[in-house]
């Protein structure tokens, strides 16, 4: 059997499980957060003014500290944001996981390719943070 042939099947089931795990955790957090919001604010079901308030520009959280503080205060929207962050991190974790599997199966070319992608991803995140 060719080297990497076994690992390739493993990689596929691993990635598939990882993606499913990521979306399940994220969806659970988003649904729970939305439920908490609607329970805390019964007027969300009746008030038109509440929608304008919620979608006003400049309301969204900017950094992780803000989100963490919201979760400590059991704010529904902070739970939703945590769920969205899990969703956003899933593809990056997917690339990192592939790197580990390629390294284990000694697939040198793909270790090189995958680490390049990972470095570029982290670089664009870092640059974006500095520029944005």
């Amino acid at each position: 059997m060719k080297p990497g042939a076994v690992a390739s099947g493993t990689l596929e089931s691993l990635i598939s499980a990882l993606l499913r795990g990521g979306i399940s955790i994220s969806l659970a957090l988003i649904v729970a957060g939305t439920a908490v919001s609607f329970i805390h604010h019964p007027d969300y079901a009746s008030s038109v003014a509440a929608l304008a308030r919620l979608t006003r520009p400049g309301m969204a959280p900017h950094d992780l500290r803000e989100v963490a503080a919201g979760i400590a205060g059991f704010r529904g929207q902070a739970l939703v944001m945590l769920g969205l962050l899990v969703l956003m991190a899933t593809p990056v974790v997917r690339v990192a996981t592939s790197l580990v599997v390629f390294a284990r199966s000694r697939d040198r070319a793909f270790v090189l390719l995958t680490s390049t992608v990972l470095v570029l991803l982290l670089l664009s995140l870092a640059l974006g943070r500095a520029g944005g």
């Binding site: 596929e12 969204a60 991190a89 592939s98 974006g128």
Partner: protein, 278 residues
């Protein structure tokens, strides 16, 4: 409209966006952005932030199934992601230099050209296959998948890896510049240059757009463009829609899928060009 009605209606629209996005290898931003801004009067920045999240949601939701069924070619995706990621980085640098109007026009024209290329098409003639691609052989990029419509395994070889890399670099630059997944350019690149079957192209594009979008999503979050209230129903709807779509894709006929994709490309291209002309 109350917050409850908003959440339910946006969820319904996003279900459709995820469903079609997962079939066509696109993020669904084409449906999400206009719906949020025109129908629900959401601020454009929040709409774009929600669209970036919807690209990731479509990608993860659909690719979970596509990777397991080997519909998405994981090795081709990893190979091409080096080009899209470096393109995206270039795009982020160029964003301050290039004007939005020229960019939109360029993207629109590129999409139209891809559509024309896909209409003229390529027939599968066993005798007329192109020269073997050394990189594709060396990196073992060739693949196979089970086609539910044909009821058989479809094996395919990958060609044109250099063209593929170049086109993916351009697609990456476009997504870095415009903040989109650019699946509309990724699918034609795999279909025309690398000769992947349309289903494999669409599924592999689905896997790839998540990584491209994740790089930009961090930036949008830091800018405060991702509003949890607006994005929550989008993310949930799109994920569930994509899960449903990814069950249907293996059973669709490739010819029909290609036709719908070309029609959509013409529509997107026209929209973009009109927007740039205005």
């Amino acid at each position: 409209m109350t917050p409850l009605e908003f959440t339910l209606l946006v969820f319904a629209v996003s279900l459709a966006a995820g469903f079609f996005g997962s079939l066509l290898g696109l993020g669904g931003g084409i449906i999400v952005i206009p719906a949020l801004t025109f129908l629900f009067h959401v601020d454009l920045r929040y709409a774009i932030g929600a669209s970036i999240v919807s690209v990731i949601a479509t990608s993860s939701g659909a690719a979970a199934a596509y990777v397991r069924e080997r519909m998405a070619n994981l090795r081709v995706a990893m190979f091409l992601e080096t080009a899209t990621a470096s393109g995206a980085l270039t795009g982020a640098f160029l964003a301050g230099i290039l004007g939005g109007r020229w960019l939109t026009l360029a993207f629109g024209s590129a999409v139209m050209l891809s559509a024309v290329g896909m209409i003229r098409g390529r027939e599968w003639r066993p005798g007329a296959s192109p020269a073997r691609d050394a990189w594709a052989d060396h990196l073992r990029l060739h693949g196979s998948y089970h086609d539910g419509a044909l009821g058989q395994e479809v094996a395919y070889r990958v060609y044109g890896t250099r063209w593929g890399l170049l086109l993916m670099y351009v697609a990456g630059a476009v997504s870095g510049l415009l903040g989109i997944g650019a699946g509309a350019l990724k699918v034609p690149a795999m279909d025309l240059a690398m000769r992947l079957p349309i289903k494999a192209s669409s599924a592999t594009s689905n896997l790839m757009i998540g990584v491209t979008a994740a790089a930009s999503a961090g930036v949008y979050f830091a800018r405060g463009d991702i509003d949890p209230f607006v994005t929550a129903p989008v993310a949930c709807g799109v994920v569930l829609g994509a899960l449903a779509g990814s069950r249907l894709l293996p059973r669709l006929r490739s010819k029909a899928l290609r036709l719908v994709f070309v029609a959509l490309l013409l529509w997107i291209g026209l929209q973009m060009i009109l927007k740039a002309m205005r």
